[in-house]
C-alpha cells in the first residue's frame, strides 16, 4: 500500500489494517464523551498491571473550548484520534511506527521525519510519560509516549502509546488546507462527501452549546453526581463502571471550563477532584486484576 489514501476514512482503514497486522486488537470507539483517546479504558486501565496488551482504535475526542463555530480551518471541538497501545513496548516500536506512515503513503525517503522531545503529562489522569512528537516536514503528526505512570501508579511493564491526530494527518496526506475540504469518502463515490458535509453543522451547533447554551448549574450538578456515583461504585468494588463516571466528570469539567465559569483557583481544585477519581479507579482496577489470568512476561 505505497500508494496514497484517497479519503479521510481510507486513512482510518489503512491504520486499522496495518495495526491489525501487527497483532493489535482493533477496538471500536468508547461510547462516552472524552477529551483524548488516552481516556479510553483500553489505554488507561490496560496500561496498569502485568498483563500484555496490544490494541488500536479510533476515538472521537471532545475539546469544547477548541470549538470555532466551523470557521477555523484547523480547529475543532470534536475530532478523531487514532490510538495504538503496545504493552510491553517492543524494541522495534519506532520501526513499527514508521512503517505505519508508509502504509499511509508517506515515503520516508522523500520527507523529513523527526522525533522531537515532548514529554506527556495528564494532570487529570495522574499520568505521565516520556517520548516525542513526531514531525513530518515540520508538522506534528503523532504523539509518541512511553507511559511511566498512570493514576499515580508505576507502569510495569511499560506501554508505548501512539496517538495520531487524524484530521491533521489527513490534511497533510490529502493536501488540503481546510479540514472541511477533506474528502471523507472516496471522491469517486456516486455520493462524494467532504468532512464539512459530514461535520460542519455539528461544529456550529456544538460550539454554540459549549460556549453559550450549556446549562452551567446543571453541569455542576452532573459533575457532582458523577463524582458521588464514582465513589459509590468504587465502594462496591466495580472499578470499570466507576471509571466511566470519572470519564463523565472529566468531560463535564471541560464543558464548564469552556463556558468560562471556572476560575483559575477552582480549576486546580477541580482537576484535583477528577484526578482523585482516576487514581481511585486505577487502584481498584489493579486490585481486582486476577494475577493468574495475567500473562507472565
Amino acid at each position: 500500500m505505497a500508494d496514497k489514501p484517497n479519503s479521510f476514512q481510507d486513512i482510518i482503514l489503512r491504520l486499522q489494517h496495518y495495526w491489525s497486522a501487527q497483532g493489535c486488537v482493533i477496538l471500536q470507539p468508547y461510547d462516552l464523551e472524552m477529551g483524548a483517546g488516552t481516556f479510553h479504558p483500553a489505554t488507561v486501565l490496560r496500561a496498569l498491571g502485568p498483563a500484555h496488551w496490544r490494541a488500536a482504535y479510533v476515538q472521537p475526542c471532545r475539546r469544547p473550548s477548541d470549538g470555532r463555530y466551523g470557521e477555523n480551518p484547523n480547529r475543532l471541538q470534536h475530532y478523531y484520534q487514532f490510538q495504538v497501545i503496545l504493552k510491553p513496548s517492543p524494541a522495534n516500536a519506532q520501526e513499527l511506527y514508521l512503517n505505519s506512515l508508509k502504509a499511509l503513503g508517506i515515503d520516508p525517503m522523500l520527507h523529513d521525519i523527526r522525533f522531537v522531545e515532548d514529554d506527556w503529562e495528564s494532570p487529570t489522569l495522574g499520568a505521565w510519560g516520556l517520548g516525542w512528537e513526531v514531525w513530518c516536514d515540520g508538522m506534528e503528526v503523532t504523539q509518541y509516549t512511553y507511559f511511566q505512570q498512570v493514576g499515580g501508579i508505576e507502569c510495569d511493564p511499560v506501554s508505548v502509546e501512539l496517538t495520531y491526530g487524524l484530521e491533521r494527518l489527513a490534511m497533510y496526506v490529502l493536501d488540503r488546507e481546510n479540514v472541511y475540504d477533506l474528502p471523507y469518502n472516496d471522491p469517486a463515490s456516486p455520493t462524494p462527501l467532504s468532512y464539512g458535509d459530514v461535520f460542519l453543522r455539528d461544529e456550529r451547533e456544538f460550539s454554540a452549546f459549549n460556549f453559550e447554551a450549556a446549562n452551567t448549574e446543571k453541569l455542576m450538578i452532573h459533575f457532582e453526581d458523577a463524582e458521588a456515583e464514582c465513589h459509590a461504585l468504587l465502594a462496591r468494588a466495580l472499578p470499570l463502571p466507576a471509571y466511566e463516571q470519572c470519564i463523565k466528570a472529566s468531560h463535564l469539567f471541560n464543558l464548564m471550563d469552556s463556558r468560562g465559569v471556572i476560575s483559575v483557583l477552582e480549576r486546580q481544585a477541580q482537576i484535583g477532584r477528577v484526578r482523585a477519581l482516576a487514581k481511585a479507579c486505577c487502584e481498584a482496577y489493579l486490585a481486582g486484576t486476577d494475577p493468574a489470568a495475567a500473562h507472565a512476561a
Binding site: M109, D112, V116, E117, D137, Y146, D156, Y172
Partner: protein, 687 residues
Amino acid sequence: MAEFLLEILSEDIPARMQVQAADDLKRLVTDALTDAGLTFDSAVAHSTPRRLVLVIDGLPSASPGRSEERKGPKVGAPEVAIQGFLKSSGLASIDQAEIRETDKGAVYFAVRSIPGQPAERILGEAVVSAIDGLSWPKSMRWGAGRRRWVRPLAGILAIFDGKPIILTDANELPLAGDSTVGHRFLSPARFSVSDFADYERQLLDHHVVLDREKRKWRILGDAKRKAEDIGMRLVPDEALLEEVVGLVEWPVVLIGAIDDDFMTLPPEVRRTTMRANQKYFTLEYPDGKPAPRFVITSNMATDDDGAAIIGGNERVLRARLSDARFFYDQDLKTKLAEQRPKLAKIAFHAKLGSVLERVERLEKLAMEIAQSVPRAKPAMAIEAARLCKCDLVSGMVGEFPELQGAMGRYYALAQGAPDEVADAIRDHYKPLGPNDACPTAPVTVALALAEKIDTLVGFFAIGELPTGSKDPFALRRAALGVIRLIVENQLRLGLTTLFDDALNSYGNLAVSSIDQLLPFFADRLKVVLKERGVRQDLIDAVFALGGEDDLVRLLARVAALQKFLATDDGANLLTAYRRAANILKIEEKRDGASHDGPVDPGTLVEPEEIALARALDSAAERVDPLIDTEDFQGAMSVYSTLRPVVDAFFERVTVNADDAAVRRNRLRLLSRIRGTLNKIADFSCIA
C-alpha cells in the same frame, strides 16, 4: 598503546541533553579508569541525536601491578599472634612472610603483589556503570526491563584495540559488538568498524556527521551561502543553532518561502512562530529589512532536492501564521486600556492579589521613581504602567507568552500611544539576565524599576524568599536588574525609600521578611562586583555604615576605598586604624565605658598628641564637605595626610598613661581616629 571506542546508540535523545550527557559519560568512564589505575592520553566525547560516543586514546593493555605490605608480629611472638597474622594477611604459612630488621628487632612482613588487570576488563566494568550512572533531567523505563535511561537504548558498540570487548553485567543491554547503523532512513544497514578513525569515516559514508561542531559549521555555512545566493542574509541565532544541531545527524539546509500576506505581521510574531514552533532561521535583506524566506534544517537528502520537505514546511508555517494573523487582527480590535479590567482575573500571587492590583501599584511607584530619573516624564510613566500588562490577556500573548511586552508595544502604538510609552511597555521586563541589554530610555527605566521593586518587596513581605538553588519567582534576577538599572543609568535613589514606597502601595500587607531585602541586595551586589574584581569586604564595610542605600554613592565609596587601600598610605593607615580600634576595644571593655567624646586640648601633653589632635581637627573640617559633595577620592587624599602624624603618635606616646585624665584623653584621640575613618566606611570590616 591502544584505543577504546564506545558508541551508545539510543532512540532519539532530547537535543538539550546531548552535550551534557556526552561530557558526563566521559567523566564517569575516565574517573573509573583512573580509580583502577589505568592511564590514558586523551578522551573525547561526541553526541548526535541518536548516539553518545567516547574515544579514549593511549591506553596500556593492563593496569600496572602493585604490592601491598602488612606488618606482622615480632619474630618469636606467641603462636596466637602468628596465627592471627596469617589469617588476616592471607598467608598459608609463616615461611611466606619476609623478616625485616626494625628498631624493635626482627618483624614479620606479609608482602603481597597484586597483579595488574587487563584494560579490557576495567573498561568492560566502567562502561556499564557509566551507562547506569549517567544522570538525566528525566529518565524512563521501557518494555519489561528494569533499566532507566533517557530513552530506550538501541545498541552498545565497545571496541578495545580493534576488537569488541565483553561488558560486565550487561543484562538487558542491547550489545552490538563492533557494529552500528547509519542514518535512520538514508543508511539503515548495519556495518562493522575497527577503530575510531574507521568509525567516523564510515559514519560519514552512512550519512551521519559525528562531530557536533562540524554539523554546526555545515548548517551555518550552507545557510549563509544559500541566503547570499538569493540576495539575503541569515539572522544569527546561536541558541537556535545549538538546538537544531542536536536534531539532525545529516543536516541539509533548505529555503522556504513566506506568503506576502504574512509579511505585514510584526517581525517578532513571525520570528517567534518560526523559531519556537518550527526551529526555522530567519532571513533578512542586506539593509536589515525582513525577507520573505526562511531556513529549514532538515535531516534528509531526497531525490527531489527537498521539494516535498519544503512544500510541507511551507504549509505548516502558513497554518501557524494564519493563526497568528487571526490573533493579531482580533487583538487590534480592542484597545489596550479596555483589556485592563480583565487583568483582575489573572492572579499575580495568591497573597499578593491580581495583576490588575499590581498594575495599580506600578502606576504609583513608576510615577514616584520617574521623579528621580532625569528626563522621565511622570505622566508618561503612569500611562506606560497603566498599559504595561494589558497584552497578557491578548490572543497573541495567550498563544505565544514569550511575546509579552513586544505585542503590548504594537497594540499601544496602534492606538496612538507615544513611542516612549510603547517602548516602555515592550522593555519593562528587562534586563532579563546579565547579557541582556539594560534599558536606558527614561520612561522605560522608571517602569522597569517599579516592576522589579514591586515584585521584590511583595515576595519578601510575604516571606517567599529564594533558598539555595530554588528561586521560583526569579527574585535574584529582579534584584540584579534593579542594580543594573540604577548603576548603569547612574540614578540617585535610596533603596530604602523605594522599598517603603512599594510597601505603602501594597496597603496593609503582613510584613514578614522585608528587613532581609537590603542585605539580599548587598549579596547580589557582591556577586555583580566580584566579576569586576571589586573586593567583597569593602562592600561589607560600606554597607556596615548602615544608612548607605544609594547604590551610586555606595559604589563611589567602594571605588575610592579600594584605590586608597592599594597605596602605602592607605595600607599603613589601615594598620594604624586597627591598632587604635584594638586598644579601644580592650580598654573600653576593661573600663566598661565608651571613650567616645571630645578631646580636651588642655590635657594634651606630648607634641605628637598635640599634632595628632590638630591634624584630626583639620582633617574633619576638610573631609566633611568632601563627603557631602561625594568627593570620596578627595576625602581619601585628606586621610593620607594623617598617616605620618598617626604613626608618630603610636611611636612616641604611651596611651595608658598613669594620669587617668591623660589616659582618657588619649583614648578619646584613638576614638577620633576610628570615627574619622568610619565616615567613609566601617574600616573594621576590611580584611
